[in-house]
């Protein structure tokens, strides 16, 4: 009895230490749109320096979890710690890339202007934009292969180009933690490759990347950790531990078609 207690205390201590060191630790996050909970009491402890995919079926609360953690929507309950501290003191360490479709691309502005928005925390209200700021924004555009579009009107961009501009804006923030909401939705293959290369280079530089992801067949190719959710948390951890046939079945219920299961089976085997 005494021994058991000691063990579980040790476990709790480890959990606590992991949360305090995690780039993003979420506890008890609960959000409801109307009557039904969108996410219910979700805990998440993101591994530092990893690339984590948040996966789950449509309407499982993947985007909602990120938005609630960032305070974009008000949760019913739940806390977010960023590197062990409340998020409001750590905003400068986070870069968030919303869903491309969540903004009006008809807005009267140019590509470089959008990237410069990532420099707002440095520039503040009135500090003048100088050559180094512009150079930095251009360098971020270059990293996503969009430097020749700098003075282009944003309404003229394709979906893939819009997504790259959003990623460039996140790079301009020089964050420690990158949170992306469906960065591959509706983009061309070349853009998908460009984006994943940038994300991997961020991870290799010691940054942490978390992305809401839809395509199960690319999970093991792109990511090293998964977080599986269907209103409640199903599993979280390194691919080898958490991304299994059992957790997939549990996350997607009976909704995975046979062909899709085969695809995942191959993906799991190739891991």
């Amino acid at each position: 009895m005494g021994l058991e207690l000691a063990v579980s205390d040790g476990q709790a201590m480890d959990d606590h230490a992991a949360r305090m060191q995690s780039p993003l630790a979420i506890r008890g996050m609960t959000v409801s749109y109307g009557q039904k909970p969108a996410i219910f009491s979700v805990d998440m402890t993101v591994a530092p320096g990893a690339m984590t995919a948040i996966i789950g079926p449509n309407g499982a609360g993947k985007s909602t979890l990120l938005k609630a953690a960032l305070g974009i929507i008000a949760p019913l309950a739940g806390q977010t710690l960023v590197f062990g501290q409340p998020i409001r003191r750590q905003r400068h360490k986070i870069a968030y890339v919303p869903q491309r479709a969540s903004v009006d691309w008809d807005f009267p502005t140019r590509v470089l202007d959008v990237v410069m928005m990532g420099l707002f925390p440095q520039l503040g209200l009135l500090r003048r934009v100088r050559a180094p700021h512009r150079a930095k924004a251009l360098a971020c555009l270059a990293r996503v292969g969009m430097e020749s579009f700098a003075s282009r009107q944003i309404g003229q961009l394709s979906g893939g180009q819009q997504q790259r501009v959003f990623l460039a804006r996140a790079l301009a923030q020089e964050a420690q933690l990158y949170l992306l909401d469906e960065p591959f939705a509706g983009v061309d293959a070349a853009t998908e490759k460009a984006i994943i290369n940038v994300l991997k280079s961020l991870r290799d530089a010691g940054k942490t990347v978390v992305a809401v992801h839809h395509d199960l067949s690319t999970v093991s190719e792109y990511f090293d950790h998964v977080f599986m959710i269907n209103t409640r948390k199903i599993a979280e951890g390194p691919l080898a531990e958490a991304f299994t046939e059992r957790t997939l079945q549990e996350t997607y219920g009976g909704r995975l078609a046979g062909a899709q299961m085969d695809q995942i089976g191959r993906a799991l085997a190739a891991r």
Partner: protein
């Protein structure tokens, strides 16, 4: 036209017209891009019950109680719109439509029931104002602009409107970046620590102040037109927010001057004997400008042609 006629009769109404037009167009740019353009319309309608209630309480048509009443009504309306939008889960346009129609109707009923016949407060005044009556009788020519005695009797609407415009310009200049970022991408704005809720509310309050101050001087027709027409015209000829704001200010001022002159002299040129409402003509001119930009504007194809996708 000589200064001795122009300065006392036309200069002040024209300047007030310009100030009103620009004061409404400036926040109108952001309201338009946030798809909240109707808020100017809403505010200029809902101030009516506020003004009537203020009159009923104080029993006199004095300026400050009426402005306070109007401001209170605008705040009530903004909260009612938000409440209906959130609780009723209907789109903002419909929520505004419900609130401003209901409050304007209540204002008309109050106006009919109360004994306001002895003061200059009626439905017509609420709509068109009376820009032409804001004359500066103490002026005798251009030199009066340097004459303290004459300046002391300048219609109070002019400095009040000019101050409103100045405060508004400061608001926009100071908060340019947060306004721009949160108008384009509210979610991102929140994650970098911009208080998008209070900022959006501040924009609406600033618009309300402009609408109330303008209503007092020129009625609601001009306010409704100026919140939407100059920014929409400017949007059609440029793809840069900064340029759009500058152009909208130019179009607003141009509409004010052109509208005032056309209202005063246009009918005479056509052989009629009386002039028409300046406020109505200014609004008409701004509408005509928008129509021209819609036909000839450089960026008129920016929506609906699939280019954005």
């Amino acid at each position: 036209m000589s200064g001795s006629e122009f300065v006392p009769l036309s200069l002040v109404p024209m300047l007030i017209g310009i100030c009103v037009a620009v004061a409404c167009a400036l926040p109108g740019n952001f309201l338009l891009l946030r798809r909240q353009a109707l808020i100017g319309d809403a505010i200029s309608h809902v101030v009516l019950p506020g003004i009537v209630v203020a009159f009923l309480i104080t029993g006199a048509a004095t300026t400050w109680p009426m402005l306070l009443g109007a401001a209170a009504a605008a705040v009530v309306a903004v909260m009612a719109i938000e409440a209906i939008r959130r609780l009723g889960r209907i789109e903002p346009g419909a929520a505004m439509g419900v609130v401003f129609t209901a409050m304007f109707a209540a204002g008309v009923l109050l106006l009919e029931q109360s004994d306001t016949s002895n003061v200059h407060l009626d439905v017509e005044h609420a709509l068109y104002g009376n820009l032409e009556s804001l004359i500066w009788l103490d002026a005798t020519g251009w030199h009066s602009l340097a004459d303290p005695a004459a300046l002391a009797h300048l219609p109070v609407e002019l400095p009040r409107m000019a101050l409103t415009l100045l405060a508004e310009a400061l608001f926009v200049a100071l908060l340019w970046r947060p306004l721009k970022i949160s108008t384009f991408d509210e979610r991102f704005a929140r994650t970098i620590g911009i208080a998008t809720g209070p900022l959006g509310l501040a924009l609406v309050v600033v618009s309300a102040i402009a609408a109330v101050a303008a209503f007092d001087a020129v009625g609601s027709i001009i306010v409704i037109a100026m919140f939407i027409c100059p920014p929409a015209t400017a949007r059609l000829i440029t793809n840069d927010l900064g340029h759009q704001v500058v152009w909208s200010v130019g179009f607003a001022a141009l509409a004010a001057v052109l509208g005032y002159v056309l209202a005063g002299y246009g009918p005479l040129w056509l052989g009629y004997h009386s002039s028409v409402s300046a406020a109505g003509m200014i609004a008409t001119v701004s509408g005509a400008m928008l129509a021209l930009a819609a036909v000839f504007g450089r960026h008129r194809h920016r929506t609906g042609d699939g280019a954005a996708l």
